[in-house]
Amino acid sequence: MEDIKNIIESLLLVAEEPLTVDRIKNILVQAEKKEIQNALNELSLEYENRKGGFFLREVASGYQIRTRPEYSEWIKRLIQPKPTRLSKAALETLAIIAYKQPIIRNDIEHIRGVSCGGILRMLLERKMVRVLGRKTIPGRPLIYATTKQFLEVFELRNLEDLPTPKEISELSDSASENIE
């Protein structure tokens, strides 16, 4: 198939969520996975070289065409998205869940030193966090973990893609900036 790259590009344009290689393979049955991967890499490179308004990103185990951050202001004038920014407290809670998952609420609150029921509910509503089940300890507390949506929003390929938390020694500089 010579036009495989074009077919994949057209799929990427229409797809509602990040397309995995497997998903593309299901559509392009006769193509090899390697061919698909190569085509994706080529497309990504083309967009990089072209330096246009968008690029190809690897998120949540798939590929998705996304606009370059440089142009976010213009896009916001066009579509006026609902504000998605999370509060500092919500981000901290989300970070704890992301790094320590699966985790129960008590352990989250232990790290933050504050209760976080309201924040958890908000994160659940925004589908950043989900309930995995219940822990088999007294009280059977809910177990929380992050969602695919979380990966999509934070442009992460998978959970291993999370940046390694810094050691405290490296941290002192950056942390002092945040305190102001």
Partner: protein
């Protein structure tokens, strides 16, 4: 001093005791592995007083931390005997959580600095996506009434099957029922409303199951969808 009070009012409403502690440590530029516990405790208590003075609700968490700090401070004052030398530094009680908290704070900052979808970067169908979320909500809202209808039907069925309620000793709690439903959904992804109510259940079990379903919707554990044609209500695992 006066300056400090001013600062509290302007930009630092501490979210929790850890935030206050981090603030004090940064302010005095002390090493978290060698905290001058007397100074920090004193400052911490002062801040608590200021916070009460300017009507910030000082929650129990703040008091708890204050007592921990005071405890560490008093333990530091106790003479250390030679043979107890290998005892842990009492300050470790506060250093370990601080370490972890600082690490998570920096992780949160790092997350925030990424190209966020819907903020820095956009996908072509973002509008459609937010639309579908609204639609989902609508399905749940409409489904709730249908849910009650379906619930009534099941109750009717039971009263036909058996006239007397048999008292059973071990009834299932709503919590247990949620776990059971999650177990089912984990293997099958979706289940019909009727399947969850086996024909031989008594009234209390039906009520428990119904409450469990409502609770799961509230926790965004499941999505409930009804087929317009068949009227079959299905639960989907999110």
């Amino acid at each position: 001093m006066q300056e400090d009070i001013y600062k509290v009012q302007i930009n630092d409403i501490f979210e929790g005791p850890m935030d206050l502690l981090v603030h004090l440590i940064k302010k005095h530029e002390v090493d978290i592995y060698d905290i001058p516990i007397a100074l920090i405790t004193e400052q911490y208590l002062e801040y608590l007083q200021w916070m009460t003075a300017i009507n910030i609700d000082v929650a129990g968490d703040f008091i708890l931390m204050a007592s921990t700090l005071t405890k560490i401070k008093s333990r530091m004052l106790l003479p250390v005997h030679e043979e107890e030398n290998d005892d842990e530094d009492p300050r470790m009680e506060i250093v370990k959580p601080l370490e972890e908290y600082l690490q998570m704070k920096s992780a949160a900052n790092e997350l925030a600095s990424r190209n966020l979808l819907g903020e820095d970067t956009f996908v072509r169908n973002l509008n459609q996506k937010s639309l579908t979320i609204d639609q989902d909500d609508e399905i749940i809202a409409v489904g709730l009434f249908e849910l009650i209808d379906a619930f009534q039907k099941i109750l009717e069925k039971i009263s036909v099957h058996r006239g007397v309620d048999i008292i059973t000793a071990d009834t299932v709690s709503v919590r247990d029922r949620i776990v059971q439903i999650v177990d089912i959904l984990e293997t099958r992804e979706s289940v019909t409303f009727n399947e969850l109510f086996s024909s031989d259940t008594d009234k209390s079990e039906v009520v428990v199951t119904f409450l469990a379903i409502l609770e799961m919707v509230r926790l965004s554990l499941i999505n409930i969808v009804q087929n317009r044609q068949t009227g079959i209500i299905r639960l989907f695992y999110l």
